[in-house]
């Protein structure tokens, strides 16, 4: 099924190290605050180091799952304990460990109550996130997916600000709703696989087995795609399921927002790439126009609303909606450039939006306000901060030379290959993105330093520079030398695109056959119209 270079359960180690750290923390007394913080940071650095061990052992030429671990767990259900990664997950896992360490360090001064519980929650969250990216068995995947919700709920609810209780429970309810629909989809796929007509004839939850299934577009793939769609779209978040995001992001503590934006949102997009596209290729092709449409709405809507915000954090939250719209557009361009751009942009967004939230956090710690109107002319007092903010802002906007540009460029190429109109609308999103970011920067950093409270504001201290530095380095690295990152994911992306190409031909056939009988049905006439643009995609 896959290879394991080291012969050692490296993935399990990476996933459970934070959990072990959390358990160690549980036994420490809650008064030893410094020790707790240092232990937490040490654990996350160790996890980071171990995850870096994956890189040399990774073979970039094959699309097979690597570092696999497989043990039977619940034979009656067909559940196995299966971990494995490919290029896509590798990128996301390393990104997760890096961002988690940064998040932990950034919380040193931000959190000053119930410290032990806070760091236990972060470490728990890290285990959950890592497990999601590694799972090759749906039961296991679902466990990690759900487990993440509880520590995030606590982080928002206890250490957040504003309407934190409301935002926390809204986040939990919304996400659980989607996940449960995804569970139904998983169960349906599990059940259908046992039917020899569709699958291997056995009851199994193994992702690799289920990806080999052969389901007809109507009605099975249609509904299954929608079930999984609901679960992932809420997580991404796609319009119109995004309403939990602004509240959750704004009211979460800084590290919470960083992890939420940096990692949790990626799980939705990861889910689409890992599960929806390979398992339901015909449905993906079928739904592509709708998905692209929703993504475009997300891009433009997110950007427009961000433009209108008065709270910095809320502005960044809406910018996330816009950026992830880009990612989804890339993924659902259903071609190599688009998907590669989408995945790269996932990493980029983690880096740049994570950095943005950290920047907001820094200013909040100093001034305890996030209203843009309370700032102005800060660049004279905080030069380093301005520079870092500027680089981050440009990265988020997509300035060439920085990471955002590479991702956005690939996505635009992919979108253009799929449908020129999509690319056109997407460009509007880029322009708007530049607009709100530049305007934000100008309002905060330039202009007269008229608020008296801002006179004594301190610049970034050494710790803050230390944890922002890796992010800045990545912004330049991915922007100037993206080759290593793209090379890692190439085989996996190719595999998906091949499956989609095969499906595209079939779907075109099916919809041609159906076009005569469905012309009369209102909501399906759009298929007949879409056949032409789809021709452009199958080449």
């Amino acid at each position: 099924m896959g290879t394991n270079v080291y012969g050692f359960p490296l993935l399990s180690l990476i996933a459970y190290l934070p959990l072990i750290g959390a358990i160690i923390l549980l036994f420490m007394k809650k008064e030893e605050e410094k020790k707790i913080m240092q232990t937490a940071f040490a654990v996350s650095i160790v996890t980071l180091a171990v995850s870096l061990l994956l890189i040399p052992g990774f073979d970039s030429t094959t699309s097979e799952m690597q570092f696999t671990e497989q043990h039977t767990w619940i034979p009656s259900l067909g559940v196995s304990y299966a971990f494995g990664i490919d290029g896509i997950s590798l990128l996301l896992i390393v990104m997760t460990t890096i961002i988690s360490s940064i998040a932990i360090v950034s919380s040193y001064t931000a959190i000053n109550m119930r410290i032990k519980e806070y760091y236990v929650s972060i470490l728990f969250l890290e285990t959950g996130m890592l497990g999601v990216f590694m799972s090759m068995d749906f039961f296991l995947f679902y466990i990690f997916w759900e487990v993440m919700l509880v520590p995030m709920y606590f982080m928002i609810g206890i250490w957040g600000g504003g309407r934190r209780l409301y935002s926390a429970i809204k986040f939990f309810l919304y996400t659980l709703f989607g996940s449960l629909f995804m569970l139904l989809g998983i169960l349906a796929v599990y059940f259908l696989n046992a039917d020899p007509q569709y699958g291997s004839g056995q009851y199994t939850f193994s992702v690799l087995e289920l990806q080999k299934m052969n389901l007809p577009l109507h009605p099975l793939q249609f509904w299954l795609f929608l079930a999984f769609f609901l679960g992932f779209a809420i997580k991404v978040p796609m319009f119109p399921f995004h309403t939990w995001l602004p509240d959750a992001h704004t009211d979460a503590p800084t590290a919470g927002s960083v992890l939420l934006a940096g990692v949790l949102l990626k799980m939705g997009t990861y889910g689409f790439v890992r599960f929806c596209l390979p398992m339901f290729p015909e449905a993906s092709v079928y739904f592509m126009p709708y998905m692209a449409g929703l993504s475009l709405v997300g891009i433009v809507y997110g950007a427009l609303v961000a433009l209108a915000q008065k709270d910095i954090k809320r502005l960044v939250a809406y910018s996330s909606v816009s950026h992830l719209g880009f990612v989804m557009l890339g993924i659902f361009a259903l071609n190599t450039h688009g998907i590669t751009g989408g995945i790269l942009q996932m990493v980029n967004h983690g880096v740049s939006t994570g950095a943005l939230f950290l920047i907001v956090g820094m200013i909040y710690e100093r001034r305890h306000t996030r209203l843009i109107a309370d700032f102005g002319g800060l660049s004279s007092k905080m030069p380093i901060y301005s520079a870092v903010f500027a680089v981050t802002m440009f990265s988020s906007m997509g300035l060439p030379g920085l990471n955002g540009f590479v991702g956005e460029f690939l996505i635009l190429v992919g979108a253009f290959e799929a449908n020129k109109i999509y690319a056109g609308i997407a460009v509007i999103g880029i322009i708007l993105g530049a607009a709100y970011m530049l305007w934000l920067f100008q309002r905060m950093m330039f202009g007269p330093l008229d608020k008296p409270e801002n006179q004594k504001i301190l610049d970034m201290n050494r710790r803050e520079i230390a944890y922002m530095a890796p992010l800045i380095v990545f912004m330049f690295w991915i922007g100037l030398f993206p080759r290593p990152f793209i090379r890692v994911m190439e085989p996996a992306v190719e595999k998906i695109v091949q499956r989609l190409k095969g499906a595209g031909a079939m779907a075109k056939q099916e919809s041609e056959e159906k076009s005569v009988e469905v012309i009369s049905k209102n909501d399906k006439t759009v298929i007949a119209a879409r056949i032409d643009p789809e021709k452009g995609m199958i080449d």
Binding site: I143, L184, F191
Partner: protein, 483 residues
């Protein structure tokens, strides 16, 4: 003429006989034990439960039908017997300190729990309409008395009377249904009824329909399905908390164990057309239970409504009427028992000399003064909602699995929507525990037995979520008799 003794194999009732001997011995010993040392009787009854439990485990794998077809001993019965013994053991562990605080420290309490257990243990073994009815009555009679045990508390008396009246009424309905069933088929033996129906193919004769309606109504009362649930909140709130836990876990599981046998055999559930009625009841039960729980301020009432909702989920297994559906009921019941008992243990912890401890506001800040309790409650809450990794999730997974495999998609969707709703009220309690300021003067009445009970329930809820294999295999094994 001399009567011919039928073939009676006493081994089939061996576990219950042991328990009966212990119960009678307990009543005899009771007057000789000093008033403040009654917990010795508690330990004595625990010993009885253990001995009975060991004998149950030794009997696994047997398949006997005895007492002229009234009692059968098979894996299905043994599965439930073991479950009931564990429930009773946990209840006794929970009660020892509680009944001292509430000043109902009587030896008869333990004796009645043992008798109720005996009744419950006979129920899954019953393969005859008469034997299940009488075992049901034995269990119910003991529970009526237990519900009203706190004689000086008007709420307890109210609960006891309500429980007694609705219980007797529903038993009467069940008996009427049994009479119709007997009239239609000429025999009270469930196996013979099933054979008769197969031969004559009369799955929709009018008296059979009447019998079904009456039986579903009667059993509906017992499992507090909607619209027969009205007694549950008041009875749960009024009874002493361990008795509430016993009612919620034990009597529900026992009622379901009987329902499976009766409905599958007497009404050919798998091939019949009974599911629309069950569907409506299940949906109403799930939905009403969850929606009304949203507004509760009393923890016991909240758990009462939540247990009503769980009865609704369990009925999904009855509706799908397949091997997976039946196994799902058994698996879910195991998880349900432990998570419910655990949640009630927390309420018992809060009961002390000057506080009843059953309001949600009594839980304020509990997780900050006692992080272990917070963690434990999160485990129970996750399990009750159905979030992994917990036994509740595995149970729900199986139930939804059976619904999808049976083609009941809407049922599955309604089930998950209800799970989302239930998140809100469980996490409201979590929120109160974690994010509110602690009440001054909250005294936790820990006792060693209570800690053991809490530990066992929390551990099993988590462990069975991560390693449910033995339970799943046992459940699938047990429902083979229905195929």
């Amino acid at each position: 003429m001399t009567p011919i003794m039928p073939d009676i194999q006493l081994i089939a009732i061996f576990p219950e006989s042991i328990l009966a001997i212990f119960a009678c011995a307990l009543f005899v010993m009771d007057p000789f034990i000093a008033r403040d040392k009654k917990e010795q009787l508690g330990y004595f009854s625990l010993a009885g439960l253990c001995v009975s439990g060991v004998s149950t485990l030794f009997l696994w794998g047997k398949s006997i039908s005895t007492f002229s077809g009234m009692i059968a001993l098979d894996n299905y019965a043994l599965f439930f017997k073991t479950l009931f013994l564990m429930i009773s053991a946990l209840i006794i562990l929970m009660s020892i300190r509680y009944i001292k605080i509430e000043r109902i420290n009587l030896g008869e309490y333990y004796g009645l729990i043992l008798f109720a257990t005996i009744g419950m243990m006979f129920m899954p073994s019953a393969t005859d309409l008469l034997s299940f009815y009488l075992s049901l009555e034995l269990m119910s009679m003991s529970l009526y008395v237990l519900a009203a045990f706190m004689r000086k508390d008007p709420k307890s008396i109210e609960g006891g009377i309500k429980y007694f009246l609705t219980g007797v009424f529903s038993s009467g309905l069940i008996l009427y249904g049994v009479a119709f069933l007997f009239g239609a088929t000429g025999t009270t033996n469930l196996g013979e009824i099933a054979a008769f129906l197969q031969e004559n193919g009369v799955t929709s004769s009018l008296s059979l329909i009447m019998a079904f309606v009456l039986l579903i109504t009667g059993f509906g009362f017992k499992i507090s399905a909607v619209p027969f649930h009205m007694w549950a909140p008041d009875v749960y709130e009024g009874s002493p908390t361990p008795v509430t836990a016993f009612l919620s876990a034990g009597s529900k599981a026992a009622a379901f164990s009987v329902m499976l046998r009766v409905f599958i055999n007497a009404f050919a559930l798998s091939s019949g057309n009974w599911w629309p009625v069950l569907w409506v009841i299940a949906v109403l039960t799930m939905t009403l239970g969850n929606l009304v729980a949203l507004v509760q301020t009393n923890m016991k009432r909240l758990l009462a409504y939540s247990s009503i909702a769980h009865a609704g989920y369990l009925m999904i297994g009855l509706i799908t009427a397949s091997q997976i559906g039946y196994a799902a009921i058994l698996i879910y019941l195991v998880g349900y028992v432990f998570m419910t008992l655990g949640a009630f243990t927390l309420i018992i912890l809060l009961c002390s000399a000057n506080m009843k401890g059953d309001q949600i506001s009594d839980f304020k800040g509990l997780a900050r003064t006692n992080p272990m309790l917070g963690l434990v409650f999160i485990i129970f809450a996750l399990s009750l909602i159905g979030i992994p990794p917990s036994a509740g999730f595995v149970g729900k997974l199986y139930l939804f699995n059976s619904a999808i495999q049976g083609g009941f998609y809407w049922l599955a969707i309604i089930g998950i929507l209800n799970s989302v709703v239930s998140l809100y009220y469980y996490f409201r309690v979590v929120q109160v525990m974690y994010m509110d300021e602690p009440n001054a003067g909250t005294v936790l009445s820990f006792s060693p037995t209570l800690k053991v009970a809490l530990g066992i329930t929390a551990f099993l809820t988590l462990f069975l979520g991560l390693y449910p294999e033995p339970i799943i295999k046992a459940a699938i094994d047990s429902v083979q008799i229905f195929l």
